[in-house]
Symmetry: C2
Subunit: 217 residues, 2 copies
């Protein structure tokens, strides 16, 4: 169970609290508007109405007691930057700040943010690949240049078995599941032969995925 | 290469176009404001300024020619709903609409959207688990109740090998990588023994992950 401070109860802050509450975490919600605090009263341990850019107010929160502090102030970038900076200066262990423009990211990271989220861009990148790749059916980016792709089985694999292809040892790929006629198969023998119409979910380093899957993107 | 229509060039629409352009897709950008169109002129095949809630304007776009149509109109829900509906009525093959409140999702899906994205909520859910779980270091939700977790090695696994534990056959889990002293290992022998301090990245059905990993959330 973690202790989390959420400053700014816009849509991102609201859904963050909803999820943290389901996880059983201890949550303090802060916003300058009472109207924003009211909908989350039933989901948080405590809440305060105040201006997060006010140093005395931030000091009064005892921010070093929280495992993570989120700055989810959306549109007013200066407020977001000032709040992030104040949190770090006053001992916050880990600060996650939400950016609303790409350019804000570097300023937030240089001024107290340990990590930055940018929902509009992160979801746009995921959506572009998820909905618009010729062969990619689904896609998850994995930290450190690894990804997971669900793709139509590469033409070069049809009629061959996993062991023939040396999927793990030679291609350095990990097959998570094979979908045949709509049903995902998670445990498959090494001599299982790929067929036309199969889709495969594959994990591996981006360079290996691009090399061996027909990615068309 | 796909042909994509993006209506509404806010932040989500802008970053969508940026990603689609990198993928080499054919893109038409539409917005009612010239100021929004200008920054993407270098990234799109064609662009038009117009009101997407105007049926004649939508008819003039030949929407059935696009593989995917995105409605990325943010704040004005009625415009978003009307545009989504008009696209489907005029033959759009696949419509992805962006919601800006949870309640909008069902309306969009009932009125022409094949899929809905809601960046603020999707990223909030991911952030809550990514930054606030006691043992989860990273997390990706996978369609159909499967997930990938990077977690501290479960206590019950320490000192035992993969084959002893029957990770694949008995626990129905797939280990994507093991991280030891900061280095991710993707190819490991079945007799490799887990050690204190290891972290493991595991793919499997949510019920199996909850059962066998110390998830604490
Ligand atoms: N100085 C401040 N101190 C505390 N709360 C603040 C401050 N400035 C703004 N807020 C709060 O931050 C919240 C989120 O900001 P806002 O609604 O502008 O962003 P948004 O981009 O719409 O957010 P989202 O996209 O998450 O919905 C608001 O509830 C607002 O009251
Ligand atoms: N009827 C319409 N026809 C065409 N474009 C429209 C229409 N209504 C709004 N737009 C455009 O949609 C774009 C996105 O809308 P808006 O900026 O309100 O949303 P937003 O929530 O801020 O988006 P984002 O979060 O993606 O930045 C704007 O560029 C706006 O000009």
């Amino acid at each position: 169970m973690k202790s989390v401070l959420v400053i700014g109860i816009g849509r991102f802050g609201y859904h963050l609290i909803d999820q943290l509450n389901k996880a059983g975490d201890e949550i303090m919600a802060v916003d300058s508007s009472e109207e924003r605090i009211n909908p989350v009263l039933g989901m948080v341990t405590s809440s305060l109405i105040g201006d997060a850019t006010d140093e005395n107010f931030i000091k009064s929160l005892g921010v070093s007691n929280f495992d993570v502090c989120f700055v989810a102030i959306g549109d007013k970038f200066q407020s977001s930057l000032e709040t992030t900076s104040l949190l770090k200066e006053n001992g916050a262990k880990y600060v996650v700040a939400r950016a609303s423009r790409s350019v804000q990211e570097k300023f937030l990271l240089r001024n107290g943010a340990d990590s930055v989220v940018f929902p509009e861009r992160q979801l746009a990148e995921w959506s572009a690949i998820r909905y618009c790749s010729a062969t990619v059916i689904d896609y998850l980016e994995y930290p450190g240049d690894y990804s997971i792709f669900e793709v139509k089985v590469p033409k070069a694999w049809i009629g061959k078995s996993l062991v023939d292809l040396g999927i793990r040892n030679k291609l350095h790929l990990n097959i998570l599941s094979i979908r045949r006629d709509g049903n995902p198969i998670l445990e498959f023998p090494a001599d299982m032969v790929f067929m036309e119409g199969d889709t495969v979910t594959v994990f591996g380093a981006d360079k290996d995925l691009k090399k061996h899957l027909d990615l068309n993107y």
